[in-house]
Structure formats: C-alpha cells, structure tokens
Symmetry: C2
Subunit: 337 residues, 2 copies
DNA sequence: ATGAAAGCGCTAACAC
DNA sequence: GTGTTAGCGCTTTCAT
C-alpha cells in the first residue's frame, strides 16, 4: 500500500511551501500565475487528492451533511435521493447516510443523532416521524443545523420543507362536501412526506365549515405491508357500509383498497372514488389508475440540502419553513374531483 | 455557538493527561479502575463526544464506507439499505452516500470514485452497472477495498456478493424446455441486482442442451419507466405471435407485461406464463400475483459491508465472491413451474 | 507573493 | 499505570 501523496509532496515537487499549495487548492487569488501553474502541474503529476479529513480538522468543518432515513422510506423517495444527492454534489458536500428502522425501537432517533454529532457532520436532514420532537430537541442542544422534510417546523437551528397537508385534506373534503357527499373514509398509513395529522385536521375543518363533523370512526389506520393492508380493507368492507370516497395517505394503501373493492365487486369510480398520495409508480400501476396528490419530491430533497448549506454559510434565509406546491393528478379512480 | 468539549477539557476535568482519556475511550484495559471511573464521569459531566475527524486523521482511518448508488435503485432496495445500515452501525462504520444517475452521463462513476478517494473512505460498495469495469480499475489503482453487489468479480482489493444469474436463467428455461415449451421471451430491463447478461447466457445454455437455439429476437430490451414499458409490450403483442412464457428481468416490467396481456385479452397463466425477478412489492400488487425470483436483499447488503470490513481488518476471507441463494416464489402467473 | 509556524483533536510510541 | 510528545495533513495567521 503505497503512501498517499500529501500536500508536502506537492510542495516539494513544485518547489514552494505547503502554504502556497494550500492557497492554490483553495482558490486563493494572491498566488502568482507562474507559481500557481507550477503547483497545479505538480498536483496533476502526483495525482494529489487533498485529504478531506485533515482539512476538516483544520477548519472544524466536515462539509458533510447527515441524512437520517426511516428505512421504509426508500421505496418512495428515489427522486428525493436524487435531489439530495445532486445538490450535495453541486455544493460539494458529502452525505452520510443513517437509517432508522420502522419502529424505532432498536435504533431510536436519539441514538442516531448521537452518532451524527460524533461524526461532526455540519448539518442533518430529518424526516417527519413520530419521534421527531425528541430528535429536534437534541439537534437544538448540539446546535446542529437541521432541515426537516415533510413537516412544518422552524427554530433557530431548524428549517423545513413541506407541503400544505391541511390544505390537501381541506380541499379534497370540501370538493365532495360541496357536491353533497359526506361519506368519506380517511386511510391513515405511515408516511414521512406528508403530515397526515394536519391532513386529518384539514378534512375536519372542511366538515365543520359545512356544519357537519368528521367522526373519528371515519379514520382507519393500517399497516405499510401490502397484504396486511389489503386484508384490513377487505374486513372493513365486509363489516361497514361502503363509503363513497376514500382518501388514502399513500398510494400503496390506495392500491390495496382498490383491490379490496375489486374483490367485493365495488366499482371504482362509480361506487367509490379513491385518492392516493405521493403520486408514485403505484398510482400508475393500479387499475384503474389512481388519482393522486403529486409531490415535488426531487425539489424537496434539493431544497433541504440548500437550506442547510445556507444555515452553515450564514446566508440570508427569507423563509425558514418552505411550503412546496402540490398538485392533484386526476386519473381514473375519481370522477367528481 | 459554544465550543465543543475536547479531550483536553476532559483530561483537565478528570485531572489526568489526555493520553489517559484517550485510553479510556478506546477501551484500553491498562487504566486503573479508579482513574477510569473518574474519566468516565468527567466525560459524562461534560457530555464529551470524541471527534471522529481528528481520530480519523490520527489513525489514517475514517471508519467510513462509501456506498455508491445508481439513483434508480432506491425503489427496489429498501431492504438492502437496511442490511447495509444495520451492519455498518453494528460494526461502527459510517456510511457515505453517493448517487450516480441513471445514464451515468452527468455524473459518471469515475467522478464519484474520485470524490470517494478524496473523502478518504476506507472502502466502497458498488452496484453492478454498465460502467463498473472502469470503476473497478480506479479502486484498484487507489487500492481502495471494494465490494460489488450484483455481479461476480474478485480481485486483490475487491470482493462481491451476487446471485447465480446463469443458474436462474438456465433453470427457468430448462423447466419449460423439458415440458416441450420453447416459446420463451426474455425481457431485459435495467437491473443492478442480477447480472442479466449471465441470466441470458443461462437461458441460451439450456436451449443448446435441448438441441435448440435461443434466438436474439427472443430478447426485448425496455425502459424502466412503467408506461413506456407497458407501451413497448403492447406493441410487441400487436406485432408478434404471443409467446408462451415470459422471463422478465424485474418485477415492475413483469407487471407492465401482465397489464399489456390483460389489455389484449391474453390470459395469464393459461395463455402465457410470466416470471418476475427480485420479488418486490410489485409482485404482490400484480393481479394475478407474480411468480418471482426472490433475492436475499437484506443479507446481500449486510454481507457487502461485512466483506469490506474484513478486508480492512485483514481478516481471513474464505470466499471473495459470495453467491447468495435465490428462490423461486411461485404465485399465480405461472402454472407449469 | 510567499514562507514559517501554530494549531485543529486525537492516537500511539516512548518514557517514567 | 500514567504522562510526554511527536505526528496525522491541512488551514491560517503572521512575518518577510
């Protein structure tokens, strides 16, 4: 294992001091052109790659952002990974990946954040989840710049990117209420991109405005596991009157509901209309194709990274909680929308 | 922003030298119990977190493994991320995430590896892809321990985890050939977990053994984009005789084919049998449910990390290319399997 | 415009 | 057992 070439080697090769080499690689413009060229050439000749670790120690910055993922989210966020990855690369930040598991028992968010702190990441990206509050407390305590995806929050050290979940719920419910339909079922499934509690609030609000109430028994909470969800829905349909409209927290569960309807001979969209969320491949695969709330996933990831870097560079931040625009993509599972 | 507490602070607080503190946090067993306790207490009192960056500089190790992902893979590997994440955590390695895009043009693997080298990761995990050879050349050149997922390779500095794609192709084809069916179509789609070229080889081999040849026009290459694939298949069915068996490189494409059949009134599995790969949620969502080749995704991720750490610690490695067992999960899209 | 030297926070010889 | 000290590879004053 041949030793890595260091800044000293380059300095010697170019016959300058290491300070000058440092200046060149950091783009300082005080270096004379001739000298700079000589250094650049030496760098090339020796295939020198500055050691980020040493640089990190010297500057007390790691140019690293930690991304903490609920493991389950991967299936639905490939585009977001794209946004995060591309932006990190563009801004020259490394991304360290931390996973938390579904239930958060064996590897709670708090432990993960401890790790992040030890790693000296400059900032961290968190996803909306049950235990995010505890996480935010910790990042505040460590003064760790934080971006939250999927939930509106802000603080001294935290920014967020989210979609207006309340409006989604409100608009959807109001649309049907206006048409005299109040027979709505809300399928709550674990979801880290849309704050389902707010969405629930929105539905309730629309009902109140219409002089009605959205009862708690119009909410069904289910598993993220397809067959399990499918089962739950089949049971539901067996034991309840078929609702007229289903608002599902995530496309996958919407598809499960569609299939349960299919099994029971409930026709979509004539007997029942259903709306999914996220607008993932599941929405397109479904038969009938799913009407779904589209989220600007890629951009949300990109914005999250950008916000963190702004906090790090103490750039002006006009909005610490950025609301991204969602759109409802109408397909074949609705007709009165 | 209050300054982080360092090993010096702890040393002072505990009234020992920093060397002793270092010994304590590194679990050296030469420290007297009383001293150790005093140090431990000071660490707790000051909430000291050793700086991994400084440690990395001092040891010339980053205890970091870089994971390079084709961005597209995320949707299908959440379990693998689980395996990688859990194992990394257990072994106390950080994981740095690098994404490459679909086409590899704007962010070629080579550039990513340059970044990895700069970051001083101890090792790197790569996925099977078109341009992996160039990547391996580079990691060899930099003497960077590498684990490849999804393709059999090995070298001085590289290990791999893979499934026997050739056997998958061979077994599947042979099964039908033995039953007198040679009307097989192979759907090739981009896939980073199974080496589709080897799979193709396997099919060919079974044909040769049966005294036949598997013609090149029995292979259809398609997009990873669902609607596009669906379209391609619809066109195919319109312009060709309907095959008896379809082997699809990935479940999503298999589902697209199923729907194309559905549109044309081709009955599955009576008229046409179809087999998917990976055994993802798509296989279960499909109607009829898809027979699919199941991969031990989580374990593949875990093994990849473990192999790298073995290389790093110069542990004995009995097998540098580990073949994982796949299984065929029979569901409703086949009947003669 | 360039060099010398003092850190950044930690590990690991080497002393005692 | 514990302390002293020399690095690890780089950035950044401060001189020159």
């Amino acid at each position: 294992m041949k030793k890595k070439t260091t800044i000293y080697d380059v300095a010697e090769e170019a016959d300058v001091s290491l300070a000058t080499v440092s200046r060149v690689i950091n783009g300082s413009n005080v270096v004379k052109k001739a000298t700079r060229d000589r250094v650049l050439e030496a760098i090339k000749r020796l295939d020198f790659k500055p050691n980020q670790v040493a640089r990190g120690l010297a500057t007390s910055k790691s140019t690293t952002i930690a991304v903490v993922f609920p493991q389950s989210i991967f299936a639905r966020v490939k585009d977001m990974i794209g946004g995060i990855g591309d932006t990190g690369r563009t801004l020259d930040y490394s991304l360290t990946m931390y996973t938390t598991d579904e239930l958060g028992d064996s590897n709670p968010l708090e432990d993960v954040i401890e790790r992040v702190v030890k790693s000296r990441a400059d900032g961290v990206i968190l996803f909306n989840s049950q235990d995010i509050e505890k996480g935010l407390e910790l990042t505040k305590q460590y003064n760790l710049p934080t971006a939250v995806i999927g939930q509106k929050t802000s603080d001294d050290n935290v920014c967020s990117v989210y979609v207006d979940a309340k409006a989604i719920g409100y608009d959807l419910a109001k649309n049907y209420l206006d048409k005299g339909i109040d027979d709505i079922l809300f399928v709550k499934a674990r979801q880290n991109l849309i704050d389902l509690n707010s969405l629930h609030e929105g539905i309730k609000e629309a009902f109140v405005e219409a002089g009605k109430t959205f009862e708690d028994d119009r909410v069904i909470t289910t598993s993220n596991e397809f067959e399990q969800a499918h089962n739950d829905f089949a049971n539901y349909l067996d034991s309840h009157q078929t609702p007229r409209v289903v608002i599902a927290g995530y496309d996958k569960e919407a598809v499960a509901f569609v299939q349960a309807c299919d099994d029971k001979g409930v026709h979509i969209p004539d007997d029942l209309e259903i709306i999914g969320m996220v607008d993932s491949t599941y929405a397109i695969i479904s038969r009938p194709k799913l009407t779904s709330v589209h989220l600007p996933i890629y951009d949300m990831g990109a914005v999250a990274v950008r916000m963190i870097t702004k906090m790090l560079n103490e750039e002006e931040i006009d909005e610490r909680a950025v609301c991204m625009k969602h759109t409802v993509v109408k397909r074949d599972s609705t007709k009165l929308l």
